[in-house]
Amino acid sequence: MTEQEVLAKVQEIVVEQLDVEVEDVTLAADIKEDLDADSLDVFEIMNELEDELDIKLEADENVKTIQDVVNYVKKELDNK
């Protein structure tokens, strides 16, 4: 998957989980600060990504922004 495709998938899941608009889910967006996620939301998002992309994501990986999520997912996909 390209980075663009990963972003699209992340946006889809984040929009669904956090009830936000896709325009809000920018690469720079801080998941907790800008998108109002709590720590459990972050885990739910990771769960969904794991299920949809068939990868394993560690719970305590330091992800703050959407860019962080995209980078992490892309790394795991590339390593599969």
Partner: protein, 311 residues
């Protein structure tokens, strides 16, 4: 639209919460000032959190409930009968907000009792190092079996079909978390940052003291139903004190309470009142079709009033 009103529990409090309401609504201010008078605390200072008061259960319980009741009063004033309420449910301390909002518990008695509840719970929390973990997508049977095997760990909150919280001693919960992972009893278990494992037997002292504390309070029989986290049925006036005592050491069943309102009162919308959107997220997990709203700030309040007036 028929609403289920959801009153927030502890966990999503934030610095300066309530101050926007305080500065703009004389009615809200009245309730906060009254709470300060009743408890001899300065609620505004607690909201401002300059001394980290919001991270102590002793103070945050009062702040959340006073704020929630204040918002509810503003809502009633602004919307009156335009607002159809099928019933109310609060999470844990939110039950006090619901009982006061519904008129079953008067504000004076309620805030005074809550002050003591918070002190008792702070004492138990300080004495018993405890921990909680949220199990996501749980296999309830497996989870209950694991808890039965480990001393001092129980399920404290059945929040939704997808989220259950365990609580107990730190050692016990860590052991449980390992077992859960080994047996695949949940998709993940996430440690939670909370002051104490409320709704577990570790809080038996608070519970007993609360029983005594509630003894001389008169509860009113009012029409608005409040569904109890502990019994998953509407609170019966004569049993309120008893249920509130049991509430502290028994698991909460928020998801089932909401389902009760859906099944018996045909609510099709929810409105969460208080800091955060935790209960709104739970509502989504219980039933996606519910039209969900929340009021956590003055801006949220104004948006909701506008939304209601447009109908």
């Amino acid at each position: 639209m028929k609403y289920g009103i959801l009153f927030s529990g502890q966990g999503a409090q934030f610095e300066e919460m309530g101050l926007d309401f305080y500065q703009n609504s004389p009615l809200f201010k009245e309730y906060i000032d009254k709470a300060s008078e009743i408890t001899s605390y300065d609620l505004r200072e607690i909201f401002a959190n300059q001394g980290n008061q919001l991270s102590q259960t002793k103070y945050v319980q009062l702040a959340i409930v006073a704020m929630s009741v204040g918002i509810y009063k503003m809502l009633s004033q602004a919307l009156g009968n335009q607002f159809e309420v099928g019933g109310m449910v609060g999470l844990s301390l939110g039950e006090y907000s619901a009982l006061m909002a519904s008129g079953k518990l008067n504000y004076q008695d309620g805030m005074a009792a809550l002050k003591d509840r918070a002190i008792y719970m702070q004492e138990d929390a300080d004495e018993n190092p405890s921990m909680m973990g949220a199990a996501m997508n749980p296999d309830i049977e497996k989870l209950e079996a694991i808890c039965a095997e480990i001393a001092d760990v129980t399920i404290a909150n059945y929040n939704t079909p997808k989220q259950v919280v365990l609580g107990g001693t730190t050692i016990g919960v860590k052991e449980a978390m390992a077992a859960i992972e080994n047996q695949g009893a949940a998709k993940r278990v996430v440690p939670l940052k909370v002051s104490g494992a409320f709704h577990t037997p570790l809080f038996i002292n608070s519970s007993q003291k609360m029983g005594k504390r509630l003894e001389n309070i008169t509860f009113e029989n009012t029409d608005t139903q409040v569904i109890s986290n502990t019994t998953v049925k509407p609170f019966e006036t004569e049993k309120i004190a008893q249920i509130l005592e049991a509430q502290i050491v028994n698991p909460t069943h928020f998801g089932d309470c909401l389902q009760y309102l859906i099944d018996n009162e045909n609510i099709n919308a929810t409105l969460e009142i208080g800091p955060g959107q935790t209960l709104t997220k739970f509502a989504k997990q219980v039933d996606k079709s519910l039209d969900r709203h929340h009021i956590s700030s003055l801006e949220d309040f104004e948006k909701f009033i506008e939304f209601m007036k447009e109908k």
